[in-house]
């Protein structure tokens, strides 16, 4: 499957809840980036493993994640 996960990075508060629900453990915090709000935002480490289950998006309190599949 080809999936696409888009983060509205500027709005991420780095709470890490999304990292706890990914069945593939590919949602991670990107410590190399500091966003506009001053947080390390979430990102996907290896999109090829994504199954587009949208778990990360469902738990995101700030609704900043969009999941698509091809």
């Amino acid at each position: 499957m080809t999936a696409k996960v888009t983060f509205n990075t500027d709005r991420c508060k780095g709470c890490e809840l999304c990292t706890t629900v990914c069945p593939k453990h590919i949602v991670v915090i990107d410590t190399t980036v500091i966003n506009r709000k001053g947080y390390h935002p979430a990102t996907v480490s290896d999109i090829s493993q994504c199954i587009a289950c949208a778990s990360c998006a469902k738990i995101c309190p700030d609704s900043i994640i969009t999941v698509e599949k091809f």
Binding site: A3, K4, R11, K13, G14, C15, E16, L17, T20, V21, Y39, A52, C53, A54, S55, A57, K58, I59, C60, P61, D62, S63, I64, I65, T66, V67, E68, K69, F70
Partner: protein, 248 residues
């Protein structure tokens, strides 16, 4: 390309002011998704509380009113009685609903007012800096129970869903949480059922959602979810507390 999940139209584009990981954001999103799926974004009316969710009126993309502390059920009563065909709900914290507004919620449930209440139980007063709430657990440290809540001094924590379920006017009471995906799915189903029962004119419907307050609990958002699971669920059991069969 197909969109599997995107932000619901039930929420506006305003950035939430909640602390990182606060469950208020997840719960509001579920309510907004249900309103969108049920085609009620043009008709629903929300009554928002005083507490951290005081700004929820900016977040739900439906008509909203912001009530005085604890008085959302009284305001919702007035709205629903004037607009009986429209979906009406209150969104209230435990300080708002179980403390200053105990009278309003009990009497709205007793009268069987046909609106839905979404009750956010995070066992603390979040907005004002972490004081003890009626729902604070025994032993839980807050700024006003610094050695931990004791039953001798403050009594046992109040179980609102069970208490309201004793009233005939309350037709549906369920307790849920949003700790993980299975629980998020269950919470959404419960919220949807409450709105369906409201639209069937069955009576007062009540969904208690166990939530977290990482900031005032002094934990990371992930630790807070674990603390909620370990400590709150044993005292506040999840599940349907009351479901009255519809009279035909």
């Amino acid at each position: 390309m197909a969109v599997v999940y995107e932000k619901t139209k039930g929420l506006t584009d305003v950035e939430l002011h909640y602390c990182p990981g606060c469950n208020h954001g997840i719960i509001q999103k579920l309510v907004a998704e249900v309103l969108e799926e049920m085609g009620m974004l043009d008709t629903a009316i929300a009554v928002c509380p005083v507490g951290c969710s005081v700004f929820a009126y900016k977040y739900f993309s439906v008509d909203t009113l912001q009530a005085a502390h604890g008085r959302a059920p009284a305001v919702a009563t007035g709205i629903k009685r004037c607009r009986p065909t429209q979906p009406v709900f209150t969104y209230q914290g435990d300080g708002d609903l179980a403390s200053i507004g105990t009278g309003e919620i009990v009497h709205a449930a007793m009268r069987g007012e046909k609106f839905t209440t979404i009750f956010i139980n995070n066992a603390i007063y979040g907005m004002t800096g972490g004081q003890m709430a009626p729902t604070t657990l025994i032993g839980q440290k807050t700024t006003t129970s610094q050695g931990g809540r004791t039953a001798e001094q403050a009594g046992m924590p109040i179980r609102m869903a069970e208490m309201l379920a004793t009233l005939d006017g309350c037709v549906y009471a369920e307790r849920v949480c949003v700790a993980d995906i299975p629980n998020i799915n269950k919470a959404k189903r419960a919220i949807k059922k409450a709105f369906e029962k409201q639209m069937n004119n069955e009576g007062f419907t009540f969904i208690e959602v166990l939530s977290t307050c990482p900031t005032n609990w002094g934990m990371t958002p992930i630790q807070a979810v674990q603390w909620m699971k370990d400590n709150m669920i044993p005292y506040y059991p999840l599940g349907v507390i009351k479901e009255k069969a519809m009279e035909v």
